[in-house]
Subunit: 344 residues, 2 copies
């Protein structure tokens, strides 16, 4: 009998749920109005009701294998408990997995949101067919996920992939983690905003200042639009972004030598503005990249946008590919469904 | 029938060969006078003759499984060929493995020297019983090796573990690799010498200048001895060393979240001079380390020197251990024997 599993994205303001077949086909997808702010118990109530409704529909001709739930934070995989989550107050040390398993009566897996996004891209997205992949998710901060031999690499405590806190500038901008010069202080939406504010405060960036005071939704996207229109200060921000993202990637490539590094998250839309500097740093700073870079790295990124799949390993190609994510915010849904299936 | 394999260290000025039982017992160890400078063919002749002599002795009561050869450079594992080696001119693209297999009539594995050192420490040294380990070898440069689930992590092209070229200071000292501010420009024997020369040139380090002009063997070790005697300039060099080694380790911990990081190589003898700054950086710069550090990291390092084995995984301890290597230059011999055994 064919089978399916449920993937849940409990990360953002909305709660999203998908039923995915074992072959990777999206069967159903819903977005609940439930806000995480309404509190743990209500979120769990509505999430479980929705999963049961969705699975009832799919169960007519498929076996329901289990549910995977992607959450922001550090997870104790053995106990199925959130150890730490800034965005889910009240969830820490509560037996989330056990409670949801009790209600759904199938195996449930809690996973870090950046990890499931990485697995989703590896299973069905930009890195399809590539066994060893890291994903860098550029959002408010930087999320990271590592997939080795097709499986999420958790490390000893489920804390592997903290790419956002790799030091890229030892005496750089202070980070909430206690460090100075973390990657996410230079290559994230918050970093773009900080650099814009600094440029505005300096009094030398009139276009940015005008946009900031007139655009109620002034943010990384508006700054990217200014860069596209040629504003030098906005462009400089994304050059800095690209430089430090390049340093982070160079470090990852030198350490891990994976087949592909996938750049996702909202700010990856600004690719055109940061990618040239990113590739420049990569060539200078990674001996491994220099030895394995494709002749035209940007061309491959464009192919990536069109949904090409790089069977790098099976074709015997041995190039290091840096490319954009393909699945957007669905990567986490697919990846969460995949971990549930793998655990079943 | 019990078995054994041969490990070879073809790295330095001397050629060292060991016969090691499958249980990790050293059966025989010899050092040949053969110099690598005498050329590839003579090295292979004498090495194979010595291996055959050694194995003949051990074969009386054990099965000879194969030979592992640790070499400095980048190896094409599939073809058994050195792709690149600065220290073994004339060896590149020569069918080393096939030639040695032909003579020995057992399976032969070529491996990177830093990788076999990491595997040796994981099998029988500081990281015995720990499945996931990285080794940082502080020599003329920095060597790196990653062991995941008890096996060497090669990455896509056998180039994983290039820790020496992780960027720790973006506008830092130029490196031969083309980058600026690579870790090995700050935390290696050459880096110690460079910093000493700079201090001497500045005219403000009279003790270093005196030692440099009077000690024919002036080097990292002599500078460490001056640091031990309290010379402020020598101490400052090792503080800088510790700072940047700490940045490198913080990056590795944030990315990989392994159970143990083993610091080996000749310059690791200066541990007392660099470790305090290293640990200081680690706590500031790695969220993962801060969450998993032992209460007293230095105590554990000292235990490490006494040969204790940390069954971190099996005891369910979840601490990140930074410790000194235990096997010295024998780590590579043991690790090379281990890869031969695993491949047999």
């Amino acid at each position: 009998m064919p089978s399916f599993s449920i993937g849940v994205d409990l990360g953002g303001t909305n709660l999203r749920i998908a039923a995915v077949s074992s072959e990777g086909q999206l069967l159903e997808k819903i977005t609940l109005g439930t806000k995480v702010i309404q509190g743990r118990d209500q979120v769990i109530d509505e999430m479980c009701a929705a999963i049961l409704g969705l699975s009832a529909k799919c169960k007519t001709d498929r076996e329901f294998l289990g549910a995977g739930i992607g959450v922001p934070g550090i997870i104790d995989m053995a106990r199925g408990v959130l150890r730490k989550s800034a965005n889910l107050p009240g969830w820490e040390d509560y037996p989330v997995r056990a409670e949801i398993e009790r209600r759904l009566e199938v195996p449930v897996v809690l996973e870090n949101d950046a990890n499931v996004a990485a697995l989703g891209e590896q299973w069905l997205g930009a890195a399809r067919g590539i066994a060893n992949v890291a994903t860098v998710t550029l959002g408010t901060g930087i999320g990271g996920g590592i997939v080795l031999d097709g499986k999420i690499w958790h490390g000893m405590n489920g804390m592997a992939g903290e790419f956002g806190h790799v030091t890229v500038e030892p005496e750089g901008h202070p980070c909430g983690c206690g460090n100075h010069g973390c990657a996410e202080q230079y290559a994230s939406a918050s970093a773009v905003m900080r650099m814009a504010r600094e440029a505005i405060t300096s009094g030398e960036a009139p276009e940015l200042a005008r946009a900031a005071s007139s655009d109620p939704e002034f943010g990384a996207k508006a700054i990217y639009n200014l860069a596209l229109q040629g504003d030098e200060h906005a462009r400089r921000i994304f050059r800095t972004f690209g430089r430090y993202l390049g340093i982070l990637l160079a470090d990852l490539i030198n350490v891990l030598n994976l087949g592909m590094y996938v750049i996702g998250g909202g700010v990856s839309s600004a690719w055109d503005a940061f990618a040239p500097n990113m590739f420049e740093e990569l060539r200078e700073r990674s001996v491994v990249y220099a030895a394995t870079a494709p002749d035209d790295p940007l061309r491959i990124s464009v192919l990536g946008d069109q949904g090409a799949s790089f069977e790098t390993d099976s074709l015997g190609k041995r190039e290091t590919i840096i490319t954009r994510a393909l699945l957007g915010s669905d990567a986490g849904l697919y990846g969460a469904a995949r971990v549930a299936e793998a655990a079943a």
